[in-house]
Symmetry: C2
Subunit: 413 residues, 2 copies
């Protein structure tokens, strides 16, 4: 008997028929002899409807506290309806809001972080023979205010529940078959990965392979809980996200990811003094603008160029901020380009293959794609390119690295 | 400066425009120098939608616990949206779910009773300069399960909050101008009452003058909190529901009420032994069927007829139950008539006017209306008649008692 946490997103519970399907699936798992805990999102469309109401009544920036009170009703609806559907299959079940399982978070409304969970409440429900159904995405802070974890937060709720219960696996049901080597809509040769390490998944998720919320992967990694990303439409195996040592073969490149909504900002002719970076990035951070890649050119004549990327919808705000602060760092001028894509190759095997970077640049050069920025990590190399070359770059890199099937056997590490 | 609790029902918050209207109204009261606490229902239509979903997924009898989890989301939506609208008027405000103000109830899901409220939580919100907006209709039991008070429960929530805060008045905003002497749709001469006692209101409410939930009147009476029933569409005074000694003139009959959905059940030839009533009404009570009027004829030859009324939609169930139990009390047969109306006259002045009953029967006899059952209380006389005579009876009684304006000056009591 395993203890399995199953998470179903908004599409999987999008209407009464789908809720009944989920009920059948969780009851089947339970009848197969497992203990099952379910975590669900709001019905698809529900959250958008609530957000539209918030905009209508609360203006452009509705109170974050009240926003959370409002949108958390979406998951509360789903848990009650799913429990009712489970009851119709003659299985005991009980719903829990975030507050009711002591899903304690910080007070950062609309993007709160989980601090703790009262696992005893869930365990006693299991002991009573019930199938606990938990509202994802929501919790309460120390003062009892309702908080939400931000879009996609139900993944994080599910993994956090799995960690608190020391579950055998957290199954994330989704509308895709698992984690792919790249976007199959862009590259027909893309294939599903059977296993991938937490580290690779983190790089894939943060780079835009929207299958799993990044925080949920961090939780699972910290507690060593395997995640199984699988389809809610069929029974087939999906992708297991596991510890590095449980990945059988280390692909040099497991996946090619992209994000086509980046913008590039260049602050030119900055004085090359200590404190310049803080003077520029401090204001961006305080404005809540997330800076991704940062490059500083070599200094020439005591001045340098500072280049970085931000989400393309933050391009105008970032440009204005830099123009305000340019004088204070003696910059000559500020330039912005909202049409940037970031393309990355990710793979555990890369740690021992310095040549991957060279090969990547060669592939892109062959296609005539100019590289504007480069960043690297232990298991990832990313380049910023002109947005219109995204497909070309992704296909060429997928062909060169993934379809070639370059692997590094575990034994050699 | 007064402390005013204002309750707005589903129609008053039925869409974003109406929510903005409510926001303007409560902020205006606040700016007039009063402390204001607001209690709201779900947006009109919302609860029906949720109930339909519950039926679809939970069958004919969805889990009452989960039903409460589901429908309580309706009020939670409203409080967040109303607070957002109040914020747009530059007034501080904060929403509270039932759980968040410690609205403790018993565990009787879908019709829970309020046990206590944490008034300190509301007071500290007021002290912080906020306008507290509270979800009506909902609470939690001792185990933290979400409960609801049943349809119309927001009235009860509002009055309970007013009692807990020792408010100066609980204003119930509604789509009528106040409490009328009878249904104005039926009797054009019906007029609004300026003041009415709790006792009269209880009789009016329980007899079908659907303006105020009966439990809310009991609460207000117990704590001596005045209720002001008034229109949400204009500023005019409505009807004050107050202590008997605060009613200026005691009308012999304040109002004529009716309920046209009653059914009459007769159990004929019952043995006139002790325990017969228990043998018949025990099963009805256990089946949750509310029995209203009960008449037992004088015994003849050791047998008697037992006649009573039930809601007309319970007629079939009550009939079946009586047929099952008829033999055990030696009854000859059971008859049912689902087409019964109850018409009542209510008035504080009646206490000292035994002649009112005689006059009432005379008025009905003049119209050729046969009286099937009669019950009386200190301030009410009710008769059961054939349903098709309802209008005729109500109009005749209103003309005879209300339009004649018979009063009893307080001095004479």
């Amino acid at each position: 008997m395993s203890l399995i946490v199953q998470k179903f997103g908004g599409t999987s519970v999008g209407d009464p028929d789908r809720i009944r399907n989920v009920a059948r699936r969780v009851v089947a798992t339970r009848q197969a002899g497992h203990e099952v805990v379910v975590v669900v999102s709001a019905m698809s469309g529900e959250t958008n409807e609530l957000v539209a109401l918030a905009r209508e009544l609360g203006g452009t920036v509705p109170s974050p506290r009240e926003y959370d009170v409002l949108v958390s009703t979406g998951e509360q609806k789903t848990i009650a309806l799913l429990v009712m559907a489970i009851h119709q299959l003659d299985q005991e079940a009980r719903s829990f809001t975030g507050a009711q399982i002591g899903m304690r978070t910080d007070g950062d409304h609309t993007r709160a972080r989980i601090l703790s969970i009262d696992a005893d409440r869930i365990r006693s429900s299991l002991s009573a023979g019930e199938l606990p159904v938990i509202a994802g995405f929501q919790g309460t802070d120390d003062d009892g205010n309702i908080t939400t974890l931000g879009r996609g937060g139900t993944d994080t709720s599910a993994v956090a529940v799995a960690c608190a219960l020391d579950a055998d696996v957290c199954e994330i049901y989704t509308d895709v078959d698992g984690v792919f080597t790249t976007d199959p809509n862009m590259v027909p040769a893309a294939h599903k990965l059977n296993r991938i390490s937490y580290e690779e998944m983190l790089e894939m998720a943060s780079l835009g392979a929207k299958v799993l919320q990044i925080r949920s992967v961090k939780f699972a990694m910290a507690y060593g809980i395997p995640i199984h990303v699988r389809s809610s439409f069929h029974e087939g195996e999906g992708t297991w996200v596991v510890r590095e040592e449980d990945v059988m073969e280390r692909l040099v490149v497991s996946g090619v990811t992209y994000n086509r909504s980046e913008a590039k900002i260049c602050v030119l002719g900055v004085k090359d003094n200590p404190g310049v970076a803080a003077a520029l990035f401090g204001p961006l951070s305080r404005a809540g603008i997330v800076v991704d890649m940062i490059i500083q050119n070599l200094s020439q004549d005591g001045t340098t160029d500072m280049t970085f990327t931000v989400p393309s919808d933050e391009c105008d705000r970032a440009l204005r901020l830099m123009e305000e602060h340019a004088a204070s760092v003696g910059a000559e001028r500020v330039e912005g380009d909202p049409g940037i894509a970031k393309v990355s190759v990710v793979g555990l095997g890369m740690k021992d293959h310095a040549g991957v970077a060279a090969r990547m640049f060669e592939v892109l050069a062959t296609e005539g794609i100019n590289i504007q920025l480069i960043t690297t990590s232990e298991i990832k190399i990313s380049v910023a390119i002109e947005e219109k070359y995204t497909e070309l770059a992704v296909r060429a890199l997928h062909a060169a690295f993934v379809e070639s099937g370059a692997t590094e056997p575990v034994a050699e590490v």
